[in-house]
Each structure stands twice: as C-alpha cells, then as structure tokens.
Point group: C2
Chain length 568, copies 2
C-alpha cells in the first residue's frame, strides 16, 4: 500500500509514490504540508503497473518511487486561488498574485514559446542573415507626432528625457552609420492611457536594412516568421497574400482585414454553409450606385436586433451617413423587410437578390455616405456581427490555429488631420518614403500620393508595419516643413545626418506581444507577458505607479500639481 502525491515543476506534473515505512512516516508529515509548498524528492522512475496508466497526463505512464523526500519551503495554507483553477479566477486577483498565476501551465508554455521565438528570430537574422543586434537608448528626447511619450525628469532643471515610442530614429541613424543590417528586440513605450489590451511598454522585433526594396523586406519577414514559428503549431504558408489599402477598405471596410471569413460572392455557397459573413464591394445598379453593402448569410436570426441596435449607435456618432438594414425574403415570398424595402421597386429587389445571391434569412445592410467612412462603418458592423454569431456558438473564424497573414500595401502617404483641423498629417510617420511613381504628387497633390509603407496583418489585427524611408535630406525637409508644416528643430540631428551620405534603406517592426497572443490563441496580450500592467497601466502586484518621496521630486526639480478638485 503506497501513498501518492503529484508534484509539479516547469516541465509539468509527475506522480510520486511513497512505499517504505520511513517514507510513509513522511507521508504523515506531508498531510500537513500545504499545497504549493516546495519539496525535493529523489527516487526511481518506473513504469506504472497495467491499468494505472493515465492517458490524460504527459507523464501518465510512469511514476517516481521515492526514496528520499525533503520539504524545502512550506507555502502558507491559505491560497488566494488554486493554480489549476486559473480560468475560473478573476483576472484582477490573478494579476495581484501574478507569481502564483505564472505557475499555470498556460503561462509557463507561453513564456517558453516566446523565449524560443525570440531566440529563433535572432538566429535567423543575426546568425543566418548577417544582421547586427544593436541596443538603442531608452532615454531619448521628445519626437514630434505619434503617441504620447512618457517623460523622465533629470537633475538639470527643465530638462527631460522621454521614453521612445520606437527605435525609428536610431535605426535610421545606424543606416547612416554604416550598420547596413540592424535588428533589435526592442522595448517601446507609449502612453495611451487606459485602453483595453494595450500596455504602456511593449516589445517589437525591429529591423532595418540598407540598399533594400519593399519586396525584399516583405520576403525576409515571411522567411523570418516561417523560421520562428513553433513546431507545435501548423506551419505557415508563404508568400502571404498582398492587398492594396484601397481594396482592403472597399472589400473589408478596414485597413487590417480579418480574412478568415470570406466576402467573395463567388464563394458564397460554401460560406453560407459555415454560417459565415461576407462583404461585397457591390455596385448596386439603382439608387445605391457606388455605395458599399454588407451581406450576412443566414444572418437574420443572429443580427436583426444587433444590427438595429448598432445602426442607432452608429447613426448617432456618424451622423451624415445612412445605414439601412434590409431583411430579404424573410417572409419567403421574395419580398424584403426593412426601412428601405418599401421604396425599392420589384425589379430592383430581384436584381439585387440575384446579384448578391440572397437567400431567405440573409441580412443585407447597405450604407451610404463618403467612401472611406462608409466602408469603415460597414467594416465595424461586419466584425460586430461576427462577434455576435460567435458569442452564440457559431464558429465564424475557423479554428484557433488558423493564421491568415496579409500584407496591406499602397497606403496614402498623408491623411487629413485626425483632429479635423486643416492640413495633412503623416499616415504613418514623417520618415516614410513616397511611392516612386508619386514623387511629383508629393509636391503637387500630396493628399493623393501613395507611400512605400506596408502593414502586416494577422487575423484582422495589425502585427507589423514598415516602410522604405526617406534617405534624401531635401525631400525629408520639404515634407516636414512644406507638407506637414511642423517644427523640424527636434529632428535637426536626423536631417543633418541625412546630409552625410545616407544609403537608401527600409525596415519593419513586428509587434511581438500581439503576434504571440494571436499565435498562442490568447484572448489578451497579458497572457504572453510575464508581468503585465492592467488596462489602467497599473501593476496590481507591486502597486506601480506609486508615490515617491519629496526628496526625489526636489532632486528632479519637479513638483506635483494638486489634482483638480472636481476630478473623479
């Protein structure tokens, strides 16, 4: 008669058997040792006797017959939660006791896979492809544009470092400096306030090359991902499909389309079987010329309420557009329901029904308005209906291992300012080179110039972005001063550097946290980061950020303002 216990280490669970009298005495002591205590066991690994095999356990065929057992460190008996119950425990509690949560097999696996991935990335880039892994500073100066940057006061009154959003400037300066292939797995900082699933610090696989074309960076990135992809997951296929920004907006209403559910009319029958959703960049012949429509096959029963609700919501916020939901043929006599149905003649109904392969129970949503915002509206609705369907148990996007990579290319170089004021701002950043065919447009019609920017999209999320950069000091100055009309003084070192023979160059940065989360099928990037902040930017375990002593503030010549009394 033996005494059984299960021990856990980084590699998993193992069953231990105590048999000898001495060890059975130990067993009595063990009874009083709380869960999560640390013990040392040595003994002999033996195959379990027939009938005792546990197929659910990786080590279910063996057990350890102990001949020595020592208690190294007892846990407190009162645990905030049991490790294996992770999924049932609220995230706030798990974050507070992150060190316990880390013992769960999912986090152990995620951190191991992330480590392996990073190693292979360096192997591919540095060992196999001649890249130099260069560390760039975390203490820098304010960069114009982009996200809000954290500031770091210094002992020099009024002087602040900032924490960089990315090593963009440094990697370009390295190109000037003759390091013609640079890589870094870089920590970046953005203060975007409280946003779900964003972190104030995050990591990117950053690379830059001299004498390179867009296609070479894309191919290298594909090979990189292929090299790094975990063997435990299905291999990814390269090359990834390419889609122009304009097409992505037209077809998916998004510059990061989730291509796991299709939208081509020609694949409708298959998709309908899967209860999937598709968007058609249809040109409706009659009243709705050039106005995009979304069709949700068999979507009526999932989406009627949701669509109506969203419609009100969207209409409220996006006032000038019209969003019309139509429910074709739900009465099975070919007639349509919905706010616009009455106004359409029979011819129109039949034409649209045919053109869009509509069937009873389908949902047709038509939106009218300015092209890009209307596309975006339908794009959001498309995702929202897919979520609704999935929440009701319908598998719209396929299994977790499905990895739909996509390059989105031919972005505009500039966009109207997001705050609505007059003028243009960079669609990405001011160092992006114009498309070689659009160089003249930069001077004449900058709003129509395309860039050499490319985004890498995975399952509808942006996981990377890069571009060919401007290597000519004059063009860079012109864009900063004449197009963007920004003060170029904070960038004077870069403008100066471009004067000393900067090679043509380009690169890309991959968002490691998001890539890992999608790869591992995690709902949140917090599941692939050892010590994440919560959605408010707080470390719930160590209580960061926190107050600092007055003497530190004095040393750094800053003082805290009183919070406004009306603030919550």
């Amino acid at each position: 008669m033996g005494y059984f216990l299960v021990i856990r280490d980084r590699h998993g669970l193992t069953q231990v058997v105590l048999e000898s009298t001495e060890e059975l005495n130990n067993a009595e002591i063990l009874e009083s040792v709380p869960l999560e205590s640390v013990i040392s066991v040595s003994g002999t690994v033996r195959e379990r006797v027939d009938g005792q095999h546990n197929e659910k356990m990786a080590t279910g065929h063996i057990e350890l017959h102990a001949d020595a057992l020592r208690i190294l460190n007892c846990s407190t008996p009162k645990l905030p939660f049991e490790v294996h119950e992770k999924k049932k425990v609220k995230e706030t509690l798990r974050m507070e006791y992150r060190y316990l949560d880390l013992r769960h097999s999912i986090l152990q696996r995620n951190l191991q896979v992330r480590s392996d991935f990073c190693f292979k990335a360096r192997e591919f880039l540095c060992k196999n492809n001649g890249f130099v892994d260069v560390e760039t500073p975390a203490l820098f100066r304010k960069t114009p544009g982009g996200a809000r940057e954290f500031i770091v006061p210094t002992h020099s009154p009024g002087k602040f470092y900032t924490l960089p959003q990315s090593p963009q400037q440094f990697k370009q300066l390295l190109m000037v400096g003759g390091i013609d292939r640079y890589m870094q797995i870089a920590k970046c900082f953005r203060d975007e306030g409280a946003k779900a699933d964003r972190q104030p610090e995050f990591t990117q696989i950053d690379l830059e090359m001299s004498f390179v074309k867009q296609e070479q960076i894309q191919e290298l990135t594909e090979q990189l991902l292929k090299h790094c992809w975990p063997e435990s997951l299905p291999a990814i296929k390269t090359p990834f499909p390419r889609m122009k920004y304009g097409d992505a907006m037209k077809r998916y209403g998004s510059d990061k389309p989730d291509t796991r559910f299709k939208m081509k009319a020609s694949t409708l029958s298959l998709i309908k079987l899967l209860h999937q959703i598709y968007v058609i960049p249809i040109i409706l012949a009659i009243k709705f010329r050039c106005r995009p429509a979304i069709v949700c096959a068999k979507g009526e029963r999932f989406a009627r309420r949701r669509a109506r609700h969203d419609r009100r919501g969207y209409r409220k916020t996006l006032c000038p557009w019209r969003l019309l939901a139509l429910f074709p043929s739900s009465s099975a006599d070919g007639s349509w329901q919905g706010s616009l149905a009455d106004q359409l003649g029979e011819d129109c109904v039949s034409q649209v029904t045919q053109y869009m392969w509509l069937e009873p129970g389908d949902l047709l949503v038509i939106a009218a308005g300015e092209h890009i915002p209307t596309c975006s509206l339908l794009g959001k609705l498309r995702l929202s209906i897919a979520d609704e369907m999935e929440s009701k148990g319908h598998n719209v996007r396929g299994d977790d291992n499905r990895m739909n990579f996509l390059w989105v290319v031919d972005f505009p170089l500039f966009l109207p300012k997001e705050d609505g004021s007059e003028g243009l701002e960079s669609a990405h950043h001011p160092f992006t080179a114009p498309h070689p065919d659009d160089l003249e447009l930069v001077h004449k019609q900058p709003e129509n110039a395309r860039s050499q920017h490319y985004d890498l999209v995975l399952n509808g999320q942006e996981v990377g972005g890069g571009s060919i950069r401007i290597h000519d000091s004059n063009i860079q100055s012109y864009i900063l001063q004449c197009v963007l009309k920004v003060d170029s003084e904070p960038l004077s070192h870069l403008l100066e550097a471009l004067k000393y023979g900067c090679p043509p160059h380009g690169g890309i940065a991959l968002g490691l946290d998001r890539l890992m989360a999608i790869m591992m099928g995690s709902k949140s990037i917090r599941e692939v980061i050892a010590f994440p902040k919560n959605s408010e930017g707080k470390d719930a375990m160590a209580q960061a950020p926190s107050a600092v002593p007055q003497e530190d503030l004095d040393y750094y010549n800053v003082q805290c303002k009183q919070p406004p009394k009306t603030a919550s």
Copy 2:
C-alpha cells in the same frame, strides 16, 4: 590606364578600378563627389597584378573592375571630421556626429562583436541549458536602497513609475512563479549623476536559477563566458581563481583586485624584471605589526613625486591614517630615505630589506590605521602608481588581450552605513542570503555575518555580481525590519510572494558594457555602445534631455521648479 577609388562598406575597404571609356567619364563625375557619399558599383572581382598587392589591406589581393557605377546619395562636402581620423578627433565632436563615428572600423567591429556575444549568450543559456528568456518591466515602482532611480510621472496625480536599477525583484518573482531558469539581457537604469564612464542606462546579462548552489552559478558563468568569448581573441581559461573578500583587501587593498600585476614576495625577482608593482600583506616585525605595506619595485623614479602628492591628498581626505613613503637604498649604501627612515634602527632596515627583497631604487610605502581603510588607501595608491608608470611607457599590466578573471567571495552581509550614521546597511542588497554557517550571527552579531554573494572581477574591474537569495519570508522580514530597520512596505509584494512556496534560488548579473569594453581593449564603455550619453548624461547628437511642452507637464500633473538663482 585606369582610375582607382576605394569604397567602404560594413565589411571593410575594397579597391575599385574604372577602365572603360564610359567608366572613365564617370570618373570625372566622381572627382566632384565628396567623400562619404554613397555609390553603387557592380563589376568583376579580379586578383591584382603582381606587385600591386597591398598586404596591409584585408582585400589587398583583389580589386573590383567596375562595369556599372551609380551615385546614390551625395554627402555634403564639408565633413566635421574624416572617419579614418577617429583617434585624432575630440570625443565631444565624435559624439555630436555619432553616425559618422559609427562608420569607423573600430565601432563597426565593437558592435558586431557585442551582437555575436549576446547571441552566443542566449545560445548557451536558452538553447543549450534550458533557460527561458523573459522580459521584465521597465516601468516599475521605487525600490528601497541602492542607486537613485529615475522617476516617470503618470497621468494619475502624484503617482510615478520608476525605471528599475535591475530586474532583481522580477527575477526572484519568476523563481516563485516556477520559471526555474531565467535569463535576460536587460536594460537597467541608475541615475548616478555625472560620473566618468558611467551611463544612466546600461545593460546586464541577467540570470537566475532555482535549486542551485553558489558554485554551480560560478561554474555556469565560467562556461557561459567561455562559450561566448570571441574566436578572434585568445581563449579564456576556467575555472577562474577564487579569492576571499578579506584576502583581496589584505593583499590588494581592493575588493576588485587587478591581478595582472602580482604581489607575492616569492615571485618578486621575475616581477622586478618587468618593472611591475606588488603588494605584500607583510607583517613587519617591529613597529609596524599588522600594518600593510606596498612596495613598488624600481618605483622610485616613477613614483616619488606622485606618491608624495597622493600622500597629501589622501591624508587630507582620510585624515586619521598615516601614510609613510620610504625610499630604501636609493643612496646605494643600504640606508633609507623618507619621513620614517630616521626612526628605524639598522636592524629593522636590514630585516625589512631582506623580508621584502628590497633593492636600490625600490619604493616602500607603509600605511597604518584601521585595517580596511588602510588597505583601501594602499590599494588606490598601488593603482595610481601603476597608471603613472604606464603613462611613462612601462607596460605594467601586460598586453591588451590579458584577461585576469577572478571570483571574490565571502563578502560581509552587512557594512556600517556609508553616510556614517549608526546602524548597518546591506553590503550588496537586502535579498542576499547569509552564509549557511553564519545564520546565527545574523541574529547575534550581524556585522560579522558573511553572505553568499560573489563578485566576478576582470582586470581589476567588477564585471558581475550575484548571490544566493533569501527564499524564506521570515528571514527576509527579519533582515529588513530588525537588522536594516527599513520600511518594508514597498517590498510587501515580495515578502508576500515568498510565503507561497518559493524555491531556494540564486543568480548573477554581468555588466555587459564594461565586459565588452575590457574585452575589446576600449578605454571607455562609450566605445562599445551605439549611442552613448556623455559623462553628463547627455546625448550630444540629439540634445537629450531637452525641454518638453507645458501641455505635457500639465498632462502629467507636474511642474518644473525654478532652478535656484545661484546655480550655475
């Protein structure tokens, strides 16, 4: 008749020959292209004709016969300095134009070697030894003790992140979390103000293991360094010698002895030939029992003025001790000169001369006072005399490739407070475990307890430090509260974590910048960092730190104090 030019890329210099008429036309254009411009050349690589080989050039046996040449980006004709003149150019100017300085072969090589070193470190640890490369946060909270930490204001009034001095707490929390082998090449931050050859941000190879003993960490570190050491340098020999802290102080007057120049009396004759310096932990029989002495063989002519000067300096700052310089036998009649010489009887002189193998022209310095400070004083003098000799062209420390690694062990766990106030402070940090034989002393005579800390020293500089940590919550609390008498609230998360079954663990951190600098024979760590700050913590190229707009200060609820009017 051809036209010759030399092109440079990351791999070095290559000679190009233009021969065809068309290319010779290009040559005319090339005449007007400034140095440091970027060109593209394609052609055929051929061996140079006999007599044209250049043995000083790596590519001196070949040349490129161009058949196409294109100017990609012209440099401005007025360079702040020519790249190859690096050594003649002031560092302030090189820092301002760092991107030009980076083109020099020394910096190209240093960054490449650093990249290779880091790759091999990960290969050794992660690929070969099961370590997990885990990123820990850069935004954390204030840690008690240690160096000054940079603070980062947040949008929450009065709440600050701090930039961590090291991932110490996180790596211990990872041990609690069951990641039993952790590594990271980690960026760390210390605000130590303006100190020569320190950087506000620096990098360490950081590792931690569960279920480990001091000797295992040391052996692993030795194997790691052996694995990573560049093939272009002489291989290093392991195991590294070990020396107890007490012996290091007694023999070298330093806890990081430069063992490249010896001190053993028994090897004196050899050392004298090399004009080297040695320290003897001599017990002078007569007046100077237990008082350390330093002897500089043939040191008189280098050191007489220096020693006197230093003596005054040291005496001023380290008042209660006596520093006596004696110049034995400089008059060749066996008599001594110097302030104490008259007081010594003939017997004493002859005894000491014999015991210390003194010869005409040697310098003998004796210092008396409290043991440790006296040792330190002589230790500093020893280095200062060596510097003096080297500045006069004498090779004291051997060639640049000489790598004297040394483990210093058995440090005290606590030291009297550095600021002179009553009480003890941690010799290293409060998480260091006591020596297993000294556990009782921690309670009874903490000032006499040894720690399980170990330092790795290379050529007289500390390049690493680590320890076995405290894994018992009670001992950790006792040390914080009863010995160090600090507020343990900021560490409550760590104390709490130790309660949930923390495995015994330990680790080490290697200072990568300094290790690289010594390895590459660089005078400064700035030569192994792509974009270093100057000794005042400034980025001379981009002018960081800099002012930030009022709206940023408002967002972060801080305001700048007026600098005191009397400040410079």
